[in-house]
Every structure is written in structure tokens, then in C-alpha cells.
Symmetry: none
Subunit: 161 residues, 2 copies
């Protein structure tokens, strides 16, 4: 059994079935589901979806939303309704709650398929990103790797010094 302090690391190739189902490797689902099978799927960067444990994602976003909600209730945002609308709209489309089915299987919901630009039957890369798991469109993944790999040494130095 894994604890929640384990980093999610590893790169795996998977294929979407015709119902947009994807099974995650046990090496990642173990640590991921340590705090329950409720997850959040988020559009954070192009060609990639991030899968976060709800226990980590929700508190982060809820804190911000709570501030907004209490301001709204206090009447502090009546001059900024337009901004509030804009934010609400982005919140609506940016992330969605999902749950892992048996055998670590995930359904990529409508709206996220188009974002990833994948067809049923497409190949994906499932990549551990330390604190979350990411689903990458293959072309976007190779582009990321070639662009960022030279920075590896600098990045590790940044975080270890």
C-alpha cells in the first residue's frame, strides 16, 4: 500500500477504447487512490488532461471559490458582476469530477475529448507528474519532451537547492 506522500512517476502507453474508456496502470492508480477514488479531471495545458485526487484538487479550488462566494454575499462584487460571470464560465469548463471504475478505468467525458483532440481508439500517454497523473496526446507529449528536456538539470537544481 502506498502513502499519499509518494510521488506519481512513470510513463505508460494506453489506448482509448471506442467508448472513450482508458485503464490506468496499477503503478499510478495505487498512490492516486490512496485517498479515495473520487478524482478531478482538469484542462490545464493544451493536448493534456490532468487527473487529480479530489482530496487535493477540491480544497485548493474551494478555498478560492469560498472567498468569491462570501464576497458576493457581502455585496462586494456588485460592481464586478461581469468578471464574476467570466470566472464562473471558466470554472464550468475547466474541470470536472470523475470517479475511477474497477480496475482503474476512467471514462474521458464529453467536452474533454475535443480538448485532447482524440478519436475513439486513439493511443495516449499516461504520465505521472509527481502530484497528479496526466493524459497526453502523443504529439503534444513528444513536443513537450523535446522542448523541456534540456531544462532538466536546471529544474532539478531549482528544487534541490
Amino acid at each position: 500500500m502506498n502513502t499519499s506522500t509518494d510521488l506519481l512517476i512513470g510513463e505508460f502507453s494506453r489506448t482509448l477504447d471506442d467508448r472513450f474508456r482508458l485503464s490506468l496502470p496499477p503503478e499510478l492508480t495505487g498512490p492516486l487512490t490512496a485517498s479515495g477514488s473520487r478524482m478531478v479531471l482538469a484542462k490545464e495545458r493544451a493536448g493534456c488532461l490532468s487527473l487529480w485526487p479530489a482530496a487535493i484538487w477540491k480544497p485548493r479550488i474551494d478555498a478560492a471559490v469560498d472567498v468569491v462566494r462570501s464576497k458576493l454575499q457581502a455585496g462586494l462584487l456588485t460592481q464586478r458582476v461581469g468578471q464574476l460571470q467570466d470566472l464562473g464560465r471558466l470554472l464550468s469548463t475547466r474541470h470536472k469530477a470523475v470517479t475511477l471504475a474497477e480496475r482503474g478505468r476512467l471514462v474521458v467525458p464529453e467536452g474533454f475529448r475535443e480538448f485532447l483532440a482524440v478519436e475513439p481508439g486513439a493511443d495516449l500517454l499516461v504520465v505521472g507528474a509527481a502530484v497528479c497523473v496526466e493524459l497526453w496526446q502523443p504529439a503534444a507529449w513528444t513536443a513537450f519532451v523535446t522542448a523541456e528536456m534540456p531544462e532538466f538539470r536546471r529544474r532539478i537544481d531549482e528544487l534541490t537547492t
Copy 2:
């Protein structure tokens, strides 16, 4: 049951029926109708209609109109009759009272169909925008999301600080 302080959040795909009726998802109608089923449908931006609880929309617009009316009465607008005319015209067409039928069903009224540029049977996106629900033409929605998503962080900071 929901309170009026809940933010309206969520993205759903729906299709207009042949009589321009649209059924809203229960996740949104619940909070929306917390203060009654009287709504206002408004043209706020191109390719999109906003649906507001009348309890929120009416006070806001009435307050503004009252200011204009008293200014007019005080003779402060005699130099700006043209502007006033323009405003009156927009007030006439910008919003319209509607009521949700049973099953959260809404009729998109004449005059608003053309604004959305939709045919009967068209697909729409129903999006929560924190304080109201919006009906988006699909092309306009994807344009908005791609343009505004990079601003997400900035927008949340604006409203929480």
C-alpha cells in the same frame, strides 16, 4: 436543496427541439429556481444568451433606469437626446421575461433565436456562469474558451484579493 448563494457551475450539451424549446439540466435549474421560476433572458454578448433569475436581474436594471429617468426629469440630458434614444432602443430588445416550464424547459423567444443564430434542432452548450446560466452557440463557446482560458489565473486573483 440549494441556497441562493450557490454559484452556478457546470457545462452541458443540449439540443433545441423543433419549437425552440430547450431543457436545462437539473444541476442548474435547482439553484436557478431557488428564488422562483420567473427569469429574464438577456442578450449580453454575441453568440450567447444569459438566463437570470428575475429577482437578481430586475433590481439591477431598474436601478440604472431610475437614475436615467431622474436625470431626464432634472433636464440634465437635453444635450444628449440621441444617446438616450439609443439606450431606449437597446433596453427594448436586450432582455425579455421568460418562465421555466415543468422539467426545466425553456422556450427561446422570437428575436433571441436570430441573435443566437440557431436553427430548430441545433445543439447548444448550457454553461453555468456563477450568477446566471448561459446558452452558447457551440462555435462562439469554443472561441471564448480558447481566448479566455489562459487568463484563468489572473481572473481568479482579481476576485479573491
